[in-house]
Amino acid sequence: MVYENPDGVMIGLEIHVQLNKLATKLFCGCSTDYHTSEPNTHVCPVCMGLPGCLPVLNKRAVEYAIRIGLALNCEIVEQTQFHRKNYYYPDLPKGFQTTQYDYPIVSDGKVVIEGEDGEHVVRIRRAHMEEDPGRLMHMGSIEKSRGTLIDYNRSGMALIEIVSEPDMRSPREARRFLDKLRNILEYLDVFDSTLEGSMRVDANISIGGGDRTEVKNISSHKGAERALLYEIMRQKNIKRRGEKVVMETRHFDEARGVTISMRTKEEEHDYRYFPEPDLVPMRVGSWVEGILETLPELPDARRSRFISDYGMVDTHAKALTSDIRVADFYEEVASQVDPASAAVWVSDVLKGELNYRDLTIASFTVEDMVKIIELVVSGKITEKGAVEIIRNILDEGGSPMDIVKEKGLLKVEGDVVDQAVEEVLRENPQALEDYFAGKEKSLNFLVGQVMKKTRGRADARSVREMMLEEIDKNYR
């Protein structure tokens, strides 16, 4: 099957990733640990661009950038430098952003995603290093703002801006690309996606070969998909009216789910890029080999390993490796119980229950998962009981054994079930007759009655077997 792309959608993304696993900012020693701090408390003369200050590059930030480049299959530049991008806006008090221009640290890479028609390659044009500006808070909505408050704690944080080619053909592919990218970056241990504002996206989109628009202010992957769906609809409506899409920058209003035109008078040449005189060039080509050796296992490799090491199916391997926290969780569980059972319980059941509640794997402990799987595998509780324990832990807390006792979840076997089967058959002659008349469903009803009598603690499959045996023995 080949995806036809009926509207000729072309999407390219620019993703700003904060290297928030660094201890300090890009050009100064201010701590990056500001997320729960008062505004303007992680700021120094370099962050503020005060006269006489001198930026010095964080070596580890460069190493992280190269690590990212290698993971995205990029070429690493031999020698590079920083530039000043001049613009006057209060998020950067010095009047320019220190960034890279003609020699990005890495370029020409690719990422393979699950596309509309199977594996799909998204090319990476470049990724460069730059500093994050301060954070502006508009008092009221952006259109009716009464004033702006500024916090410079973020100013000077190390960013990597990753620029893709316009290779995504639907908002869904864009979202999958973002998910994959986030996952790779977390495997690389350069970035924590749970911190606010750690990944910000601008999207370029055109349809049917027309002019593109750039949508800014997208702060989540779901937001990216929504903004792009809206923008496709808007551009299609313009074409339907026989008009032309105007090349412009638009602002995504997350609350309303719409994009708004932002008039900008600045053009590329207005930024007057020039080499940053306060930072010397760097030659880093020789670092590549050493960094390559320390590159951790990446999601695709881990997925293949899960299949070969633990004998699980690909859908489970994919689900478990699509978030490093879940993959780590799984491997810890699998080291203590049967890995095949663990794969099913973690990827099918636990992940589903977490998603349903909008929770992450951090809400569940390895210990509890191990205990629950042991209880099922040893036949002490039913699968249904195990699901109930998981739900109970997520909703109300508690330990597996306490919940088992409290809810009476220990599996009942033998006499109690025998008795329940006999009773149900005696009490439901009509259902039995229906079954003899060929209504398979009646058997399900009878099994259901036994489950009811044993309050769900019997194993449905063995009840069914016992039921058939009993019918053969005493009712034929």
Partner: protein, 93 residues
């Protein structure tokens, strides 16, 4: 020759208001400056590599070790208006 419109545009980029009279004056002054620098174009530099930095230094880095930041009061001291630890500016879009 620099035009009055170019001066106004540069003023806008720097968020500086330039009135019409000044714009005319700056246009002619800036033209003189540019003409003066234009003399450099007469030198043949086709065999010369661009000099980005005068110092012949490469690879200057620091380790990823935190240092103390300034006190919040010191950061806010230069601001015209503050509110709950933030620097406040007029409305911007």
């Amino acid at each position: 020759m620099i035009t009055k419109e170019q001066v106004e545009h540069i003023g806008w980029l720097a968020r500086v208001n330039i009135d019409e009279e000044d714009a005319f004056e700056f246009a002619s002054e800036l033209s003189t400056v540019l003409d003066y620098f234009g003399q450099l174009d007469e030198v043949d530099t086709s065999d010369v590599k661009p000099t980005y930095h005068v110092a012949d230094v490469m690879n200057v880095f620091r380790e990823d070790k935190p240092k103390d930041s300034l006190e919040q009061d010191d950061i806010l001291a230069n601001a015209e208006e503050i509110q709950e630890g933030y620097i406040k500016t007029p409305k911007i879009i």
